[in-house]
């Protein structure tokens, strides 16, 4: 029987161009992301098998306000990587973006003409309903929760998302927030944030929902992390024992993935230490592949393993392809205004613009202004001291303190 299961999984994988070898190699890299030894590979493979072959998918993917880039990152239409295929097996892709046309029964061809009988379980709406009733699924949430405009910034099938979301979150066993928007609102929640966007963790907190949230920031998310976390949650006992939550950092991110800065593992780091910088794009320094610090690289304070896992099936990643890191992995789920755009923009400057009195200033402008005012004040004061003739030893001392004089003292 177990053997039959193996074959079933591998034939499903093979049908999508993933060999048994690819799959096991992938399980190996997942083990690394989860902090497990190679000996855990069979355990991971077994967890995927078990989950993929149950009648009901363990995971559900829901979109909030987003550019859909995370979906794109997963989908990679031309050459789906192993992660995508595995996630396909594990999740009910209730992508509102791609499944809209399947909405209710009226969308089934022939239904409205009365030719076809309504089978609710065949529709996206029907499938999600069953899942919600049964509960215990992993909710993969992409995008910002947009609470502004009475929740009307995002309406699905006649309802606002903020109306539906509490139930979806409450019945989930765990929420995996994919992409910075889901984590803390991301760029959708950047100043001035008209849609009043927030991350799913903040939303749950505000709604009094206790479902654990695993945050996977970056814009877009890295598919390998998503699968690693879904499997991590699936591995028996992780959730019940709280083991999975122990692996998260202060921002609810898996510490193994978000524990080191980009700068720590950057291939340009040697140039940084040598003081070899790109000061301008299109320059000879850029052609030499120098460090991008002076054009605003946020690598030193951005915690992700991008340089190791890389993107698009390990092809490359931002800094390697020549762009300074813009810090999309910076996340502050429970601190509004902490999203990576507010923290990082303008991206080609080292420091963010600070909003003061209705406009924004660079910290160095503020610093220099304060320094200049102080220098000017001292200069003016110095002239005053000269005029008052105090330069040479100061004015003569008072003979008694004003306070003592008032008290009638004095000598």
């Amino acid at each position: 029987m177990a053997h039959g299961n193996h074959d079933a999984l591998y034939s499903q994988l093979a049908a999508r161009g993933v060999t048994r070898r690819d799959f096991l190699k992938f399980c190996g890299s997942i083990a690394t992301l989860m902090g497990l030894a190679e000996t855990a590979i069979p355990q991971i493979a077994a967890a995927v098998e078990a989950a993929a072959l149950t009648p009901r998918a363990p995971a559900l993917w829901i979109n909030g306000g987003a550019c859909t880039g995370c979906t794109e990152s997963m989908a990679q239409g031309m050459t789906p990587d192993v992660a995508t295929v595995v996630l396909d097996l594990l999740s009910l892709n209730y992508f509102e973006t791609v499944m809209m046309a399947q909405g209710g029964p009226e969308m089934i061809p022939g239904y409205q003409e009365g030719v076809v009988e309504a089978k609710p379980e065949l529709t996206a709406e029907g499938a999600i309903k069953t899942m919600l009733e049964e509960g215990g699924y992993i909710l993969i949430f992409e995008g910002t929760v947009m609470t502004g405009f009475g929740g009307n910034a995002l309406r699905i099938a006649g309802k606002s998302q903020t109306e539906e979301l509490p139930e979806i979150c409450k019945n989930a066993a765990a929420i995996v927030a994919v992409g910075s928007c889901a984590v803390d609102g991301g760029w959708v929640a950047a100043r001035p944030n008209p849609a009043e966007g927030k991350g799913i963790q903040q939303f749950c907190k505000d709604e009094g929902i206790a479902t654990p949230v695993i945050n996977l920031p970056t814009c877009p998310v890295n598919p390998e992390w998503v699968v690693a976390m879904v499997i991590d949650v699936l591995l028996l006992g992780q959730l019940e024992s709280g083991a999975i939550l122990d692996k998260l950092d202060d921002f609810g991110r898996p510490s193994l993935i978000f524990g080191q800065t980009i700068h720590d593992n950057c291939p340009r780091r040697g140039h940084f230490e040598n003081g070899e910088f790109v000061y301008e794009f299109g320059s000879a320094e850029e052609a030499k592949g120098y460090c991008l610090y002076a054009v605003g690289c946020k690598g030193p304070q951005t915690f992700t393993n991008c340089p190791i896992v890389r993107w698009n099936d390990g092809a490359s990643w931002c800094v390697e392809s020549g762009a300074p890191c813009i810090g999309c992995g910076n996340a502050n789920p429970l601190s509004p205004g902490g999203n990576w755009v507010d923290v990082g923009a303008p991206f080609l400057n080292r420091m963010p613009d600070l909003p003061i009195a209705g406009t924004t200033f660079q910290p160095s402008t503020i610093g220099a202004a304060v320094g200049a005012v102080a220098a000017g004040a001292l200069l003016v004061h110095g002239i005053g001291m000269k005029v008052a003739g105090r330069m040479d030893g100061g004015a003569p001392y008072e003979d008694v303190r004003a306070h003592d004089r008032k008290k009638g003292g004095g000598k």
Partner: protein, 225 residues
């Protein structure tokens, strides 16, 4: 001509040394800090960071030593006096500093003609010196919060979360540098504007004659001239 005498008892040798070390550390940290903030010439980042990471420990150890020494070393009770007492008593507000805050402000704003009486230091001077202590520790806290080896200690990472992330911790660290620069500018200006005798003492341990004061901060033998 009305400046007090500057005797070595005011700044015993240890404090001349701590002040020198502090000055060198501060200048090195500010210079390397400016460079780390924006590498304005090529080829120096490794050295700049090395400098910064070395002098940040020098600064903290020096300050800690200065504070401990204050409880053991005796220094003059007021400028222009050779009478000594435990330094910390002279460093913190003294009885002779009371009720003089407004007088000092008025004096510096040219609204009062004669020089206010002080103690070991004047009121504003004491506020500024005392403020450098927590300020340096806050500087160290913000610095260790963005330093690789310590940034993930929960004591530091909690602060980073609180201010909105490591980038803002850097912004705060950077602003604090300007606070130190402004402090030092005002401090160096005021220390020297009425003559170089104070600097002669704190840097070269050179004594100079002048008015004498008693331990209540009043001119010794009656009126000042």
């Amino acid at each position: 001509m009305a400046h007090p005498a500057h005797y070595r008892e005011a700044h015993p040798m240890v404090f001349v040394l701590t002040h020198w070390i502090n000055l060198i550390a501060m200048v090195s940290l500010a210079f390397s800090g400016f460079y780390i903030h924006y590498p304005f010439f090529a080829g120096f980042m490794g050295v700049a960071r090395g400098m910064h990471f070395f002098f940040m420990f020098v600064l903290i150890i020096n300050l800690t030593f200065r504070i401990i020494a204050a409880f053991f070393v005796k220094s003059a009770v007021s400028l222009g006096s050779r009478e000594v007492d435990t330094d910390i008593k002279n460093w913190l507000p003294q009885k002779a500093n009371r009720h003089q805050f407004l007088a000092w402000i008025k004096y510096y704003l040219f609204m009062k003609k004669d020089h206010p009486l002080g103690a070991k230091y004047g009121v504003l001077q004491k506020i500024a010196y005392i403020a450098t202590v927590p300020l340096t520790f806050v500087m160290a806290y913000t610095g260790f919060s963005i330093w690789g080896p310590t940034m993930d200690w929960s004591f530091f990472s909690a602060g980073a979360g609180w201010v909105g992330g490591y980038m803002y911790m850097r912004v705060i660290h950077y602003f604090l540098m300007w606070v130190f620069i402004v402090f030092t500018a005002i401090h160096a200006y005021l220390a020297n504007v009425e003559g170089f005798a104070p600097s002669g003492l704190i840097f070269a341990w050179k004594e100079s004659e002048g008015l004498h004061f008693d331990k209540e901060g009043n001119p010794a033998g009656g009126k000042a001239h």
